[in-house]
Each structure stands twice: as C-alpha cells, then as structure tokens.
C-alpha cells in the first residue's frame, strides 16, 4: 500500500502523521508512508486543504484529522 500524508507544520502540527503511523503499526500492514510537508508539492497534488491522506493515489481525507477507527477502515478496504 502506498500512503501519502500531506501535512504542514503550521496548521496544528504532525497529528495525522502520528495517527497514520500508529495505525499502520497496529494493523501490521506493509505500507510505504510518504510524508509531504512542502507546500508546492502539496499543491502539485491538487490538494488545497491540509492535512490530507492519499491511499494508492486516491484522496480519502482532506482538511481534517480523522479518528483512528476511520483510518483503520480506510486501510482495510
């Protein structure tokens, strides 16, 4: 699984990153997590609202930090 976490330090910090990393560990999935904090890179991906989560090139979360349960469900799909 290819996971991209798009999060900028200024808006609330690294919350999504830590939740995603924890969830991946708990579920024991093999995933390639990429953390993107650079604004230009984020915009190039077509994202305007951070934090955002992209799984296998599909945007699943935007502009909010979801609960762990929701992320678990997203990973298990």
């Amino acid at each position: 699984m290819d996971i991209k976490v798009l999060e900028r330090a200024c808006c609330g910090g690294k919350k999504l990153q830590s939740i995603v990393e924890e969830t991946v560990k708990e579920l024991g999935i093999k995933a390639n997590i990429e953390i993107i904090g650079d604004m230009q890179q984020i915009m190039a991906l077509g994202i305007m609202r951070t934090p955002a989560l992209i799984i296998d090139d599909k945007v699943v979360v935007q502009g909010r930090v979801p609960k762990k349960d929701e992320i678990k469900k997203l990973f298990q799909k």
Binding site: C10, Q40, M43, A44, G46, M48, T50, P66
Partner: protein, 343 residues
C-alpha cells in the same frame, strides 16, 4: 417592536454579556470569600482583579467554544476550490467586495492563505479580487465579531466588520489599479497546481471538522486568552486611569499611530487581544485607538509578513503593508472623533 427589542436585549445580556456570570462571581467573592470589590482598598482591588479575571476568562472560553463550533461548520462549506469558483466570475469593485466578504468566512489558520493566494494568481483572478480577499481573510472573522459584540456592543462590532471589509475592498482596488502583477514572486507562477481533487465535504465531515476546531482552539488558544485576560486585569485594576489617558487617551494625539506601531508586528490571537482592548476602553482609551490596535494585531504580524515575502517582491509587500497600516490608523482617528455615536 418593543417586544422584539426586549427579547433581543434579554438574549444579548444572558448569552453574550453573561451578566449573570458577573453577578454570580461577585456574589461568591462577597459572600463565600468575604472579599470586597472596589477601588478604595488593596483588598478591594484584589477582589476586583479576581472578579474581572474570572468573569472574562470563563465568558470568553464559553463563547469561543460555542462560536467556533457554529462558525467552523458554516465555514467548512466554503472550500478553497469553491471560493475560487465563486470569485473567478467577477472583477472590479463587485469582485473586490465579494472577495472581501468571502475573506471573512475563511478558516482560521493564517498559513492557508498562501496556497489560496497562489491558486488565485494561477487561475488569473483579477488583482483587486485576490488582494481584497487576502487583506480581509485574517482581518475579520465571524467568531471574533460576536465576541467583540459581547464586550463593546453590537454597534462597535458591526462597525468593525463594515470598516474592515471596506478597507479590504479599497486596498484591493488600489493594488489592482497600480498594476503590480510583475511584483509577484516568480515562485508563485512556477508552482504547479495539480488537477483539483477537492472533495465536497459531507455533513458528517463538516461536523467532525467543527468539533476538531473547538478542540484545537481549546488546546492552543486558552493560554493566549489567559495571558490576555491577565494583562487586561492588571490594566483594569492596578494602572491608574490618568496614565492610560495620557498615553492612549485624548491626551495623546498620536495614540492611533502608537497603537498601529505596537499592534502590527505583534503576533497574538484575536481572542487574547480582546480582554486587553476591553480593559483599555474601560480606562479611557479612545475606541478608535483600540480598534486600530486590534486590527493591527489581527491583520499583520512579523511571522505573517515573513510568510507573505515568499510570494510578494519587496515593493508589492511594502505597498500591501503600507495600505493596511495607513488604513487602520485612519480608521482609528475617524472613530476617536466619532466615538460619541458608538457608545
């Protein structure tokens, strides 16, 4: 008509001014702790300080949570993509007005205005629309307007919004007329904006977002409110009125300029600034001077200027900062002169 007015003023005093909370704290201090509240003795001053501090802090925190929840929910409807779509059809004065108005309902985080700015420029939105939006976005927001109303009444709050929007519109139009496109950093044009994948947020997501904002505000902002209320209390109960009047009151013709010089570089949260403003007004500072101070604090700060430097060349940045500075100082003088209408 009288009946409606009564209902409105009752709602206002119960939910916004929370006079019951003030009375409750006074009662507890007087009867449980046997502390007098007055300005004559040191004990009375201590009582007064505790009263002011507790009342202001609790009131602001209650209002903040409720307001942030309601307004975050409303604001989440206006995603950056949607805002861009609405604005892309307009130009000139009409566009500038709508840009300024939409700026008032954009989310809080000031760093989100840079990506929005870039996407506006890349979408070739007119300069006046982009800049009206950029000026009003950190400047006026719904939650702080209601909080302002709870402290200074609705007249002042509405005037604050109207004047803020007006400044954004005029500032945007001036920058548009000056044809300053060439002073936007190359970096902005080099940024590739990917095909938009902005999903329309669902009701559930918007509710979750609103809840999260409240939590965020609670965790991040309470310190500023505490600090602000602390400074406010100190001004309100311990600094003699004459000193404030001489420095910031009618005694000093340069008071609004001073307020701008102090307020603009300062990085603080509007919710922490309000209790200081409240105490200053109670101690005889002109309402215009206080408005200038608050507008300076919210519209610009050293960190936000550093951030804007990434997208604007020095000349454009200087004009941008200059227009806002002159605008808010002007507003300060006008409101000091016409303050009798507002109180």
């Amino acid at each position: 008509m009288q009946y409606i007015q009564n209902v409105f003023s009752w709602l206002n005093s119960v939910f916004l001014e929370m006079s019951w909370l003030s009375n409750l704290i006074t009662w507890i201090l007087n009867n449980v702790f046997r502390l007098p509240i007055n300005n004559e003795s040191t004990l009375g001053k201590i009582g007064g300080s505790i009263q002011f501090f507790m009342y202001d802090f609790i009131k602001i925190m209650i209002l903040l949570c409720v307001l942030i929840f309601i307004f975050s929910y409303i604001e989440s409807k206006f995603t950056p993509e949607k805002t861009k779509q609405i604005l892309s059809k307009l130009k000139g004065v009409k566009g500038a007005i709508l840009g300024a108005l939409l700026g008032t309902i954009t989310p809080f985080c000031s760093c989100s205005s840079i990506p929005i700015f870039i996407s506006f420029v890349k979408a070739k939105l007119p300069m006046e629309v982009t800049f009206s939006f950029l000026i009003s976005s950190p400047f006026v927001d719904l939650a702080s307007t209601v909080l302002l109303a709870s402290m200074f009444g609705w007249k002042v709050a509405i005037v604050y919004v109207v004047v803020g929007v007006l400044l954004a519109v005029v500032g945007g139009i001036i920058i548009g007329k000056l044809k300053l496109e060439k002073y936007i950093e190359k970096y902005v044009f080099d940024t590739q904006v990917g095909e938009n994948k902005d999903l329309e947020p669902t009701k559930k997501e918007r509710l979750q977002y609103a809840k999260e904002q409240v939590k965020d505000i609670f965790i991040n902002v309470w310190k500023y409110v505490l600090l602000g209320v602390g400074i406010g209390t100190f001004i309100h109960n311990w600094i003699p009125q004459t000193i404030i009047e001489t420095i910031l009151g009618e005694g000093n013709i340069f008071a609004p300029v001073l307020a701008a010089v102090v307020g603009i570089p300062m990085y603080a949260d509007i919710f922490g600034t309000l209790p200081i403003a409240e105490a200053l007004v109670l101690k005889g500072t002109g309402i215009g001077t206080v408005l200038t101070f608050m507008m300076g604090v919210t519209a610009l700060s050293v960190p936000s200027i550093v951030m804007l430097r990434n997208v604007m060349k020095p000349k454009l940045l200087a004009i941008f900062v200059g227009i806002i500075a002159i605008g808010i100082i002007f507003i300060g003088y006008v409101f000091n002169i016409f303050s009798f209408v507002l109180v």
